[in-house]
């Protein structure tokens, strides 16, 4: 069950503030890193929503991210629609795909659920890859960015774009946290804890899971919309299952089922990647060892481990 604890608030605020500072003080390259972290953080929050609070570990969040990006790209670059319409269509497309996958896979459990989401994600990848209308493996370019000049924001400025992405991370986190505390979210935690019992109490669990998956997909779609605007280019690579795998790693490193942890996890992974990448091209080796160590150490993730220590200390104090 989700509680917006002070530790969560502090962690999110601290990570976002540090990244904002990094973007403001750094040059072009740090801002690119901040944008990369922000996109991954939104995806990680969306995955943690279903995986950590609904027990649905998805390997198709990369594909949903790509669907959001492609829908936005297609609407602006091919359809010539304005960015607001494109945003709504992209969010709807991601949510609809998520609703479909969630509904079909809702009764599949464990490793089989992961395989099912992999299958649907890869199907989307192949369809996009083979679709001539969407540019096939060449991708699409000429994508518009939001025009926020009316409120004094220049989205073509790398710093302002980076800060805008960070703002979306906060919005995504707040939306997920809000829903998790709502009637819907509490019911979802009930399913995660004991689906059988929830059904015996009268809940149509598969429908609830499908809606949860759809909401999470909408958040992933939002990350896709930003990704399309960031490079103003989309390619099928966005949809490959390894993207989903990377998001899953972020969630695990940060702390599955903590919502705040995955944001820290995204920052950690991307910074590790670039810092290690500066010395050696074999940064995957380090990330891999890190992942193995994190899971073997109990699988709580960095944030989850801190939360666990604090709770144990609080428990000891209460006993004493």
């Amino acid at each position: 069950m989700f509680h917006q604890t002070p530790l969560k608030t502090f962690t999110v605020a601290a990570v976002i503030a540090a990244l904002a500072l990094y973007a403001i003080l750094g040059g072009y390259f740090p801002r690119e890193i901040v944008i990369e972290i922000a996109l991954l953080a939104i995806l990680a929050v969306s995955l943690d929503f279903v995986a950590g609070y609904g027990g649905m570990v998805s390997l198709c969040h990369g594909a949903i991210y790509g669907i959001g990006a492609y829908a936005f790209a297609g609407m602006t670059a091919i359809g010539g629609y304005d960015t607001v319409t494109a945003t709504l269509v992209a969010l709807a497309a991601a949510a609809a795909f998520g609703l479909f996958v969630g509904a079909v896979a809702a009764n599949i459990t464990g490793i089989f659920f992961i395989m099912a989401t992999l299958a649907f994600g890869q199907m989307a990848y192949v369809v996009v890859f083979e679709s001539r209308a969407l540019g096939g493996d060449d991708g699409l370019s000429g994508i518009a960015r939001y025009d926020l000049s009316a409120i004094g924001i220049d989205m073509n400025d790398s710093l302002q774009f980076a800060l805008f992405c960070l703002a979306v991370v906060v919005i995504a986190y707040a939306a997920a946290a809000y829903v998790l505390r709502s009637t819907f979210g509490r019911t979802l935690s009930g399913i995660h804890s004991n689906e059988d019992r929830m059904r015996a109490l009268g809940l149509t669990a598969w429908r609830h899971k499908a809606v949860a998956f759809s909401f999470s997909s909408m958040l992933a779609g939002a990350a896709g919309i930003l990704a399309a605007q960031h490079t103003q280019f989309v390619s099928p690579e966005l949809l490959v299952w390894t993207v989903s795998g990377e998001v899953l790693i972020v969630v695990i490193l940060g702390g599955l089922g903590t919502l705040a942890g995955p944001i820290a996890g995204a920052a950690l992974l991307v910074l590790l990647k670039h810092k290690i990448g500066a010395y050696t091209e074999h940064w995957h080796l380090v990330i891999g060892l890190f992942l193995v160590a994190a899971v073997m150490a109990g699988g709580r993730g960095v944030y989850g481990q801190i939360e666990y220590w604090l709770r144990q200390r609080a428990g000891r104090r209460a006993d004493a």
């Binding site: 464990g110 992961i114 199907m123 790693i249 891999g288 899971v295 073997m296 699988g299």
Partner: protein, 290 residues
């Protein structure tokens, strides 16, 4: 018309050859999975190690057959190391953690291979005796590819015999069916798992080594082969030899014939099949447990 028949027969052999490689990989994965509910995503990485070990052994010894013997042993040793260092401790950790640990291992193994062997594709010479074309049912087909099919069929037959006729086979079947019961019957499940794990690793190494002369050894083979292998295992049904055979044939033939008949959507067909099986028969087509 004759040309047509030849064409389809060639495709049939291509499909069979792919199926056999998938079988060599999926059988180890599925039995480990079925016996101990252990999800080893690093199985594809072991296949890659097998290919590189084969390439190096063949280059060093100048003998293909020696390489074919050394590669499985080398991969088995890697497997034993992984077992002792990691897998043994993750036995009771639940499928999610196993997926994640072995997912991490893929990164580690792939990067280690890139450090040792570099990023370029490494070829491996076919043995002289198998390097030419051969005739099969009137079709001219590379002899080496027929050899791959033969190896697959031999392993398939040998495993069938071992599983159905020997005491070890009976123990494995009992373990897959009900490991708690098997343990009660005095079977040392832990040792059995270790033995099966070693055989699974060796077969992955063998698959890598015999694939190297055709596809070359590349770092990307670890993940390229992983997904089709997992699909075979899930479609066929966990822990089941018959399931692995059926799954390999289905996936191998769908990929091969799909690429010929509807090249644009060949790769999507397998995923459609996977999704359909998961929805209609979540336990797979031929599950080991009824």
């Amino acid at each position: 018309m004759v040309a047509d028949v030849d064409f389809w027969l060639t495709q049939f052999l291509n499909g069979l050859q792919l199926s056999m490689l998938l079988f060599l990989l999926s059988i180890g994965l599925t039995i480990i999975f079925g016996l101990m509910h252990f999800v080893n995503l690093a199985h594809g990485a072991l296949y890659m190690v097998g290919a590189y070990a084969g390439v190096s052994a063949a280059a060093a010894l100048g003998n293909f057959w020696a390489a074919l013997l050394i590669a499985p042993i080398a991969v088995m040793l890697v497997g034993i190391f992984l077992y002792a260092a990691i897998i043994r401790h993750m036995r009771r950790a639940g499928p999610m953690n196993q997926v994640l640990v072995t997912f991490g291992l893929i990164f580690v193994i792939v990067d280690l291979v890139r450090i040792v062997w570099g990023d370029i594709a490494l070829g491996m010479a076919q043995p002289a005796i198998l390097s030419g074309p051969a005739e099969f049912l009137g079709v001219v087909y590379p002899a080496y590819r027929l050899f791959i099919i033969a190896v697959g069929l031999i392993v398939m037959a040998a495993l069938s015999l071992v599983l159905s006729r020997t005491q070890i086979g009976a123990m494995v079947r009992a373990g897959v069916e009900n490991d708690a019961m098997a343990a009660c019957l005095g079977i040392n499940v832990e040792r059995l798992f270790f033995a099966v794990f070693c055989v699974g690793c060796a077969l992955a190494g063998l698959a890598g080594a015999i694939a190297a002369p055709v596809f070359s050894a590349t770092p990307s083979m670890a993940t390229d082969i992983l997904i089709p292998t997992l699909i075979v295992v899930v479609i066929g049904g966990l822990g089941s030899l018959r399931g692995a055979i059926a799954g390999s044939l289905i996936v191998g033939f769908i990929q091969t014939f799909g690429a010929v008949v509807m090249p644009e959507f060949a790769s999507v067909l397998v995923y459609v099949l996977l999704a359909a099986v998961l929805i209609v028969k979540p336990a797979g087509l031929l599950p080991a447990r009824s």
